[in-house]
């Protein structure tokens, strides 16, 4: 293995291609500088193979290594953890490329590349990532194979090299059944072996857990999936698709947040007068926070989840991988009233903000002293004055409430929810902001609903003395003609407006939409069965095949048995394929060659059977006839039109041959 490397251009090309494929998903996640550095090193290697530049000497390599260490530490302030570790890994891998002297170096580079594929999966487990993995494994194995073949000093040709990639692909293909068996049967654990590094969870898009209307001038329009819901019952009406998420109650003048974690509930409140039960599963994309979503309002806490004082569902750990849970929600309900009114936190308004708003509230309150009447008056205020729904409202600098209410009058859900909540609080009505998603699109190709990041929404909850907390969505009162973007109109006012006006009429748009749905079906299945295959799913699978009752021993036996069987089948296939069909003529003739070898007579590779037999007959004239019969029968079997029993004849002649002088 330590043999000096026979440089083969094809092998290095495969290696470069494989490495690039392996680190690509990782590079996207890391700072641009890492990407540029790696690209530079790859380019260096490539130019070297083209015969343009020499490879760096040891001191230069050492310097680059030091640079990598320092750079990574400088940027991440650590060299362990998901990001820093990955950055270090791929930089070292690319550095290794500049120092391929022995087969061991190549082997090490390939193994580092496998590791970086694994590191990439910590960020992204999508179908494209899996496809890239297979491509990278084939290319890297192909490179390893070509380097090993290059030891024979063969004459490199395109056909030979294509054959090597095909060979690697075949090996991977044969390995797939073993992979599947192990994947399905290898016991999944529900716990981690050691604590995850701190930054194992960060950097995902989605709701932020805070809300700053006026500070962000652009609403997320990301079509990225937030979660998917599969309904056992009929899906809820479009107007009632409020997916409850983080509840915010503290406002500092600009930002809504939930600063102290709300106390967790030990017993969940029992909803009263509940109607319209909806049962469904939610498959939540990882968002690295603890909140879970459910239709307003879940009747019970799902297994393994928690609920806090604000009736918000929470996961015990940050959701860092695909999470599936089952919820029953009631679209109509009344919350049990609390014995005392909610405390002062739901009435707090920063002293300095909204002087104009305060006057408006006082005026409205004089006209409508009852809480319900006051709420309607505020909603009417939004409905009857020129308030617009806009995705790109102007920024608000000093007093977001006053500026929105009296000057800009343009905003999205956050502005309305925030202003509405403040106005109610000024009127002495407890109120809070609820963020989450509103809407969702049924995938017509499969029975589930897709909720995207662009469906993010915010609304209010108001505490009424006789009803408890009640949902009020102030955005909903803005008339359709004041919604600036038609797509938002469709989203926010389903059924109220003539949807056909906005439906894509061009066939290609329709097809594209259809195609997107199809892709989402595939993604959903991938998530359900591959990425989301966990201990629970595995147990239900074991249950189906009836192995569960035998316990872990049974599963162990099954694993070993299945692996052995498949390995034997594949091994048999490879061995017979390589050997070719067993050739009976050759087998019998070999016995003849053994007999002559015993007399120190060997058939030369260029010598025909007849001339060899003649040569043997010179030494053993007594057997001349037998020898010639053997040679002629052999030739007949090989090249002529042999009789039915020519093979038996040959066998007999060879068995009877006695080479004695």
């Amino acid at each position: 293995m330590t043999a000096e490397l026979n440089q083969s251009r094809a092998a290095t090309a495969f290696l470069l291609a494989g490495l690039t494929t392996a680190i690509l998903p990782l590079l996207i996640q890391l700072p641009l500088l890492v990407g540029l550095f790696c690209a530079g090193l790859l380019l260096w290697r490539f130019l070297h193979d083209m015969g343009r530049v020499p490879l760096p000497r040891k001191p230069v390599l050492f310097g680059l290594l030091l640079l990598v260490m320092l750079g990574v530490f400088q940027h991440f302030h650590t060299i362990i953890g998901r990001h820093a570790g990955s950055a270090l890994l791929i930089c070292l891998l690319c550095l290794k490329l500049l120092e391929l002297r022995t087969l061991r170096d190549v082997s090490m580079a390939v193994q580092l590349a496998f590791f970086s594929i694994l590191a990439g999966f910590l960020f992204n487990q999508s179908i494209p990532a899996a496809v890239l993995m297979f491509a990278a494994v084939i290319l890297l194995l192909g490179a390893l194979l070509t380097f090993h073949h290059a030891r024979a000093g063969y004459h490199s040709t395109a056909a030979v090299e294509k054959g090597h990639i095909a060979h690697a692909a075949r090996m991977v293909l044969y390995a797939v059944p073993l992979m599947l068996i192990l994947f399905v049967l290898f016991p999944r654990l529900n716990t981690t072996l050691w604590s995850l590094p701190e930054d194992a969870s960060q950097g995902q898009t989605g709701l932020s857990g805070t809300m700053s209307p006026g500070l962000v001038s652009r609403l997320s329009n990301s079509p990225e999936v937030a979660f998917r819901a599969q309904f056992d019952t009929a899906p809820p009406d479009k107007l009632l698709r409020y997916w409850r998420g983080p509840v915010l109650w503290f406002f500092d003048g600009f930002t809504w947040s939930a600063p102290d974690s709300a106390p967790l509930l030990i017993t969940t409140p029992v909803l009263e007068q509940k109607r319209n039960k909806i049962s469904y599963h939610i498959t939540l994309q990882p968002h690295q926070s603890t909140w879970l979503f459910a239709l307003d309002m879940p009747g019970a806490v799902p297994d393994g989840a928690l609920m806090n004082d604000a009736l918000q569902l929470l996961s015990p750990q940050p959701v860092s991988k695909l999470l599936k849970y089952r919820v029953d929600s009631y679209l109509h309900y009344v919350l049990p009233r609390q014995s005392d009114r909610p405390n002062i936190t739901f009435l707090a308004v920063p002293r300095h903000i909204g002087p104009q708003t305060r006057r408006l509230v006082q005026q409205l309150q004089r006209q409508h002293p009852a809480p319900e009447a006051f709420i309607n008056a505020v909603l009417d205020h939004f409905r009857e004055n020129d308030y617009y729904y806009s995705r790109t409202p102007p920024l608000l600098f000093d007093d977001p409430i006053d500026e929105f209410l009296f000057q800009s009058k343009r905003g999205y859900c956050e502005h309305y929810a925030s202003t509405f909540t403040i106005m109610l609080r000024l009127a002495g009505i407890p109120a809070r902001v609820v963020t989450g998603y509103q809407g969702g699109e049924m995938n017509p190709l499969s029975n589930y609903m897709i909720v995207r990041q662009s469906d993010a929404h915010a609304w209010s909850e108001v505490y009424l003395n006789d009803k408890g907390w009640v949902r009020v969505d102030p955005t909903a009162v803005i008339p359709v003609n004041r919604i600036e973007n038609p797509a938002d109109a469709v989203r926010l006012r389903p059924g109220l407006i003539d949807v056909s006006r906005y439906v894509d009429r061009e066939w290609y748009k329709k097809t594209l939409k259809q195609f997107r749905f199809a892709v989402d079906v595939i993604n959903n299945h991938w998530n359900q069965w591959v990425v989301g295959y966990n201990e629970k799913r595995q147990r239900s699978f074991f249950d189906i095949i009836g192995i569960l009752e035998f316990g872990w021993y049974g599963i162990g036996y099954l694993l070993v048995a299945a692996l052995s069987l498949v390995t034997l089948l594949i091994g048999f296939r490879i061995l017979t394929l390589q050997r070719g069909k067993s050739d009976p003529v050759r087998r019998i003739y070999r016995r003849f060659l053994k007999k002559t070898a015993r007399r120190k007579l060997y058939q030369a590779p260029t010598e025909g059977a007849l001339s060899f037999a003649a040569r043997v007959a010179e030494r053993f004239p007594a057997q001349r006839t037998a020898l010639l019969t053997i040679a002629e029968t052999y030739n007949d079997l090989r090249y002529g039109h042999p009789d039915q029993d020519a093979l038996a004849e040959l066998r007999q002649a060879i068995n009877n041959l006695r080479l004695t002088p």
Binding site: L141, V530, T567, R590, A597
Partner: protein, 324 residues
């Protein structure tokens, strides 16, 4: 019965040194090919194990997938490496006589009756560098292994190793091969630059016309053993028949290489000196005879004669001597 079978299959010496001398061709069947992981293979296995730990810890299903795929590839590569040697036929070896102390290549025939090329098959004689080569499908090649013997005589071909780590270098399949063939080693020629001056002709007191080197006499039909330099190629092209040019020379040209004329006393040194003389005489295209205790070869020339003389010197005093 059972014991015999067990002995046959579980004999440890087969694992370390092979089956002992076997008649060529030596077929590498299942029981003759061994396979074990290489150092790289063990490192690779360790890496896969670390990847498994990482996948378990992060509960990462695509990580599991990669880990298990590589596990599968590792298992598959056992079969690929094993089958890269399986059913190859080793031998016979083409053994040309060589001089003691000189490195000479031994050409061993390797035949592949299979449908796929056997890549990077490595052959190695003990204490010699390995030779790596491909054996194409349905063909046969010669691998030339350098070999060196320090003593003259008829030596059995030493055991050599046929091995491969192809395709991934994770496993090494090998077989110990010992062909039941012998190689003839001539004595090492001494550093003696000149031939002895004596000839036999003087003693007979007459001058005979014998086949010699000086004057062209005519043509006769080729006989095996005639020097290639003397074939009359012009008539060969014309008559489809090989003819040898005949020369006449005086008997005075006959050279006798005699045991008694050697200047040293030691047997081996004498043989070395005689070997050098044979070579010198042959190089000078002289007609020479050889006389050693037990053997006398009348004067002649040509490669066959040279081989006869050198073989006699090589086997002098050994049990194989009577064979020639």
């Amino acid at each position: 019965m059972l014991k015999a079978i067990l002995d046959r299959h579980l004999n440890l010496s087969r694992f370390f040194v092979g089956e002992g001398p076997q008649l060529p061709p030596y077929l590498l069947h299942r029981r003759r090919v061994y396979i074990l992981p290489t150092r790289q293979g063990l490192i690779f296995a360790f890496l896969v194990f670390v990847m498994l730990l990482a996948s378990v810890n992060y509960n990462n299903n695509l990580g599991y997938m990669l880990t298990f795929l590589l596990t599968g590839v590792m298992v598959i590569s056992i079969f690929h490496t094993y089958s890269n040697l399986l059913a190859l036929e080793i031998g016979p070896a083409m053994l040309k006589p060589a001089f003691a102390g000189h490195t000479t290549p031994v050409a061993i025939q390797i035949t592949n009756h299979g449908f796929t090329t056997r890549c990077a098959v490595e052959c190695r004689l003990p204490k010699q560098p390995a030779v790596t080569l491909d054996v194409a499908a349905n063909s046969s090649i010669f691998v030339r292994l350098p070999i060196k013997f320090d003593r003259r005589g008829l030596h059995p071909l030493p055991r050599f190793i046929v091995a491969t780590v192809f395709p991934l270098g994770l496993f090494r399949a090998w077989s110990h091969v010992q062909l039941q063939q012998s190689i003839l080693i001539y004595p090492a020629p001494a550093d003696d630059p000149c031939l002895p001056q004596n000839t036999h002709g003087d003693q007979q007191g007459e001058t005979r016309t014998v086949q010699g080197l000086d004057d062209f006499e005519g043509l006769r039909n080729y006989q095996p053993g005639d020097s290639l330099y003397r074939i009359h190629w012009k008539t060969a092209a014309k008559h489809q028949l090989l003819q040898t040019k005949q020369y006449v020379g005086s008997a005075a040209a006959d050279l006798y290489l005699r045991w008694a004329d050697t200047t040293r006393q030691d047997v081996e040194t004498r043989l070395s000196q005689l070997t050098r003389w044979v070579l010198l005489a042959d190089a000078a295209s002289r007609t020479y005879g050889l006389e050693i205790p037990g053997h006398a070869y009348p004067p002649d020339s040509g490669p066959a004669h040279k081989h006869r003389c050198l073989a006699a010197l090589a086997l002098y005093g050994s049990s194989d001597d009577s064979r020639t």
